[in-house]
Symmetry: C2
Subunit: 306 residues, 2 copies
């Protein structure tokens, strides 16, 4: 085995930690003086069922910490797949993160947000020291289980969950009723495509997020931060991290109007395109050309309907 | 707002907590006497970068606890998408969970498993009381960032991550180079399909896992536990939870040869099939019939290639 990296490089550690996928939560609270706080956190997890305990951690430098330390309660909102904007809103510093939301008040006055997948109404149970973060343990007093497709976070990118169904094998072909179901076929086909594609892309040493950034910057030079964030669909902090990695690898250089690809970066982008093209060719070589064209028409129509 | 459920019903709480998606880890350690332990955990999370701290929690009743309490180190393995079997292996009690694996020894002798997305080599930093679990804090001394598609866990089911790309809109149609890329088209089409399908399914009040169990049991009556687990592709503990929910809702009854759907359960299954068929009809109504047949041929071919 190769010697593992030591933990001294905080950026490399953060990148490695990004391999652990999580949901996304927004945690809210109100201090006794009425000041409200809300932060985006993916450090949430359940700890215990009896007593019912959950935890999450908060940066010790966070301006919201005094509110969470004084409030009797906090509410954890597990975000649904369509709440990327809410996630971004509470991840940014702002004078009033709740502007325009008019949240109802829950236990201890904690602001309640709507449209999420689940909510956990917690009494602050303990605040533990966790290095540069506080670990906040909450006793769950009540909860809402709305059930919704979840928003995910992996390698610095938002993602959706693709339920894994049992793949068909040559020995056990699809039963007729499933073999004709478009959703099942789409899910399985995508799973098969990704299984052969992702290892090729990851073999370049770039995470999915870094690869996406590189390709977007190659297509659109001189994007401002806001346009870049829209194009890559990644949170601002992760864009920063990916930028640092790409800068350090010499794939990107600071230019007058933002970041620009270096010659090496253009070469790496060309490699990524080559991998994507090669993969597409490998996949398509066994397929009937007219069927393939028809398939793409159908997929485009589905996208337009969505 | 409806009054939220109180936290007294542990099963309902566990179900609600399942809305928070996570990656899956296997944590290993070796005691000074050479005894090895390994457990599947999805309670892992990062806490701090300076010092580098991570945490996970372990059931106080776990037979593996003495090993983790005595070992100087533990290693957290973040599982890759193709490691469902490893996840199931370390989730089950067994005389020797490592049989046939022949793991190398890492820091403090902790068994090292291969093929995962990332590994964190940790010195046991602190063991905190977390109700019916111990919270284990580790100081990350070294790590491996292999980068791989992650295994996910959501609502009791394994899942894959589907990177969210910026969807095309009528105002900004797909640029040509993307509009012809099969992977991009598949991803976007599935995202669009799911966005309209999942809310209809979740409106039945069943989680995705419960709905899948019900449909599998309707198709195959009298499955033994092992065959059921293979068909639904869910971990054993989650199958138990889904069974309890379905029993309590009166959709399932204990029979002589395992669980059987009640009349109400068959009605609910029929509703789920109706939703799936209706969704498929709505989606397909605008599509050319021959194109659709060609598309399904292509998707089946992709699945066979995978």
């Amino acid at each position: 085995m190769n010697a593992p990296a030591t933990a001294h490089d905080a950026r490399a550690l953060r990148r490695a930690l990004g391999n652990f996928a999580t949901g996304v939560t927004v945690v809210t609270a109100t201090a006794p003086d009425g000041e409200r706080a809300g932060v985006t956190a993916n450090s949430f997890n359940s700890v215990s069922l009896d007593p019912p305990l959950v935890l999450w951690s908060l940066d010790k430098r966070s301006a919201s910490h005094p509110v969470f330390a004084q409030a009797s309660h906090f509410v954890v909102h597990v975000l649904a797949a369509d709440q990327i904007e809410l996630s971004n809103r509470f991840a940014r510093a702002a004078a009033d993160k709740f502007a325009g939301l008019e949240p109802e008040a829950g236990r201890g006055g904690a602001p309640l947000l709507d449209g999420c997948a689940a909510r956990f109404h917690c009494r602050l149970h303990q605040q533990l020291d966790g290095g540069d973060h506080w670990i906040l343990l909450g006793l769950v007093e009540a909860f809402d289980d709305f059930g919704a497709a979840p928003l995910l976070y992996h390698q610095g990118m938002y993602a959706a969950a693709l339920p894994r169904s049992r793949p068909a094998t040559a020995a056990e072909p699809l039963p007729g009723w499933l073999g004709d179901n478009l959703l099942y076929l789409l899910t399985q086909a995508l799973q098969a495509y990704q299984a052969s594609y992702q290892p090729r892309q990851l073999a370049t040493g770039l995470s999915s997020g870094e690869a996406r950034m590189l390709l977007v910057l190659e297509q659109h030079s001189g994007l401002d931060a806001c346009a870049l964030q829209r194009e890559v669909a990644m949170p601002a902090t992760e864009i920063e991290l990916a930028e640092m990695v790409l800068l350090r690898k010499g794939l990107l250089a600071r230019g007058d109007t933002g970041h620009e690809l270096t010659a090496l970066g253009r070469e790496q982008a060309a490699t990524l395109w080559r991998i994507a093209r090669q993969q597409q060719q490998d996949i398509q070589s066994g397929l009937d050309e007219q069927d393939l064209a028809a398939c793409k028409r159908v997929l485009r129509a589905l996208i337009q309907q969505g």
